[in-house]
C-alpha cells in the first residue's frame, strides 16, 4: 500500500493521467481509504486552476490599446 507521501509525489502524474495502470490502481486503492489524500489531490488541482484563471485576467485598457494599434495599422501588410 502506498504511503500518503508517495501519493503526493505522484500527484502530478495522477492529475495529467500519465501514471501506469499499476500505479493508477495503487493510488486509487489508497484514495479509497484516505480522506486527506483525496482532499490534497482535489485542492492541488484546484490551486492550479485558480491560478490559471487569475493569470488570464487582463486590463481592458490593454485590449483597447491593441485595438487602437490595429486601427492605425495598414491592411494587407504581410510578414516576410
Amino acid at each position: 500500500m502506498l504511503s500518503c507521501k508517495e501519493v503526493t509525489q505522484r500527484a502530478g502524474d495522477w492529475t495529467d493521467g500519465t501514471l501506469s495502470l499499476k500505479q493508477k490502481l495503487a493510488v486509487r486503492l489508497h484514495l479509497l481509504i484516505c480522506v486527506f489524500c483525496r482532499r490534497f489531490l482535489r485542492q492541488y488541482k484546484l490551486a492550479a486552476e485558480t491560478t490559471a484563471l487569475q493569470a488570464c485576467q487582463h486590463d481592458h485598457h490593454e485590449v483597447e490599446k491593441v485595438l487602437k494599434m490595429i486601427d492605425d495599422a495598414p491592411r494587407d501588410q504581410h510578414l516576410p
Binding site: D16, L46, A47, Q57, E62, V63, I70, H78, L79
Partner: protein
C-alpha cells in the same frame, strides 16, 4: 458565429472579428508572455505579437488551430526578446525544491502528520471571491523559476498537451513533469496558507 466564418473574416482583416479575437485571447497570451519574459515586458511582447498576427492573418492557412498559431507567435516574440537579453529559459533551477512541504509527513510511515485543511470553496471562481488570494497566487506564480512558470502557464492557461510543451520549450518529458509538479505544489502551499491564515 461559426469558426470557419470567423476565420474567413479574420483572413480578410475584418476589424470587428479581430477585436473579438483580441478580447477573447489577450489574457491568455499575456500570461504566456509574462511567464517567459516577466511582467515588465509582457505587454509589449503581446502587442508585437498581435501586430504580427494582424499582418500575417491573410496568409494564415489553418494548418494549426488559431489559438495554437497565436501562442506560437507570442512565444516567438518572447524568445527573440530573451535572445536580445542574451538569456534563455534554463533548467538551472530544477534542483531547487521547497523542502518544507515534505516535513508534513511522518518520517517513519510516510503518512500525513500535518493534514491538508479544507478550503472555503471547491471552485476556482469561488476561491477568487477572496480577491487578495488571486493577487497572492499571481505574485507567487511570477516568482517561480522562469521555466516552471512557462511550463505551468502552457499547461494550465494554454491547455497544451505535455508533448507539445516539451517541443515548445525544448525540455524532456521527465523534466516537464518535475517542473509542473513543483509549480503546482508551490501554488497549493500558497493557497492553503491563505485559506488558513488569510495572509499571502
Amino acid at each position: 458565429m461559426d469558426e470557419s466564418k470567423q476565420l474567413e473574416l479574420l483572413r480578410q482583416q475584418d476589424k470587428q472579428a479581430f477585436a473579438a479575437l483580441v478580447r477573447a485571447q489577450h489574457g491568455k497570451l499575456k500570461a504566456v508572455a509574462r511567464a517567459m519574459v516577466g511582467s515588465a515586458e509582457a505587454e509589449e511582447v503581446v502587442q508585437e505579437a498581435w501586430l504580427s498576427a494582424w499582418r500575417a492573418l491573410p496568409a494564415f492557412e489553418g494548418r494549426s488551430s488559431l489559438k495554437t498559431w497565436l501562442t506560437r507567435i507570442v512565444m516567438n516574440a518572447a524568445h527573440s526578446r530573451l535572445r536580445r537579453r542574451d538569456q534563455t529559459l534554463s533548467l538551472d533551477q530544477i534542483a531547487g525544491e521547497n523542502p518544507s512541504f515534505w516535513d508534513r509527513f511522518n518520517p517513519d510511515d510516510g503518512h500525513w502528520q500535518q493534514m491538508p485543511i479544507s478550503w472555503r470553496s471547491d471552485r476556482p471562481d469561488g476561491l477568487l471571491q477572496q480577491t487578495e488570494l488571486g493577487d497572492c497566487l499571481q505574485k507567487n506564480l511570477d516568482r517561480l523559476p522562469a521555466l516552471q512558470q512557462a511550463v505551468f502557464t502552457l499547461r494550465h492557461v494554454e491547455e497544451l498537451e505535455l508533448d507539445d510543451i516539451c517541443n515548445e520549450l525544448n525540455v524532456s518529458a521527465s523534466n516537464v513533469r518535475v517542473l509542473l509538479h513543483r509549480a503546482r505544489l508551490k501554488l497549493f502551499q500558497v493557497a492553503e496558507h491563505y485559506q488558513e491564515t488569510g495572509e499571502c
